[in-house]
Amino acid sequence: MQTDLKKNYLAPGHNACPGCGVAIGVRLILRAAGEKVVVVSPTGCLETFTSPYGASAWEVPWVHPLFENAPAVASGIEAALKYKGDYETHVIVIGGDGATFDIGFGALSGMVERGHDILYICYDNEAYMNTGIQRSGATPYGATTNTTPRGKFSRGETRPKKDLLEIMRAHNLRYVASATIAYPQDLARKVKKGLAIDGPAYIHLITPCNLGWGINPEETVELSRLIVKTGLFPLVEYEDGELTSVHKLKNALPVEEYLKKQKRFAHLFEEENAQMIAEIQKMADQNIKKYNLAG
């Protein structure tokens, strides 16, 4: 494996939990993006663990405005840079699923609809982790969180997660892709592509949260790999509306392989919930069919 760029733009000494998937993701993103960037991040885990006053982990210009307005603030920065004649500096938003799927979605939709030259990367750990694991629009079917707990009448999240990739595709973006931290070269390539195109681009990055998913710190990368290998999170790439690459799966793993490692899905393995696992397997199968992952 090659590590082409050694420069580290996320300094050590930050306050992320041991084994944090987001920290890995951001290191990889920044490494691919290089020096000429401005990063905007909404409120969330990333913001909290990187930005104590006097102890910032950021080695690139970084702006944290509010929870729900990072895309709009990034729009203003992009416009201002262009107004000043700076067409080289890339503007990147790195925001969590809460900020992206839920509270900041209007601003994201506006940003891409207006065509700002910004790469938006959603680091999706499938719940509000910064506030202590509450469901978001990205929480998958069956997952327990502190607002979708297992109870006498509850078996976790009842709805499938919002398909943000398709929603972003519907905005007619020139570049839409999904990635995980388990495939760093693929992620780096996609970040570079997203930055190279003129106009908005969107990358959906799945990043496990050890605490929220109920896994061990050392399993972060492994889980990012398993979610791909089961077909639950296909790695795909759309350029100018065309599907231009998919990460093929020779033999997709059964979803149990992925689910059984996480405490948030533990209740699915109770006998009465077997049907729920079948539902989730169906979702994976649909993905495999939709993107022809097996072929």
Binding site: G19, S56, T220
Partner: protein, 88 residues
Amino acid sequence: MKLNLGGVTEAGRSKQNRTGNWRYFLPVVDQKRCNGCGTCELFCPDSAIEINNKLCLINTFYCKGCGICARECPRSAITMQVERGVAV
């Protein structure tokens, strides 16, 4: 030190923080098995690994002991060992 206007703060000052004392387990590299491929460095969330001249060096000032490096090492060259002085 006077506070900056608007809370604007300097880059990269987190380096002053010792996060190594969060650790229960320490990654120990078997340098004979290690070929310096850099997988561990790539996946280290804490930027606590340096590959220097094909040699994998763990920065214990920062390493939080998550164990991703050991789990992901393609040659199983890293093992997690109980930190001295830590009761498990």
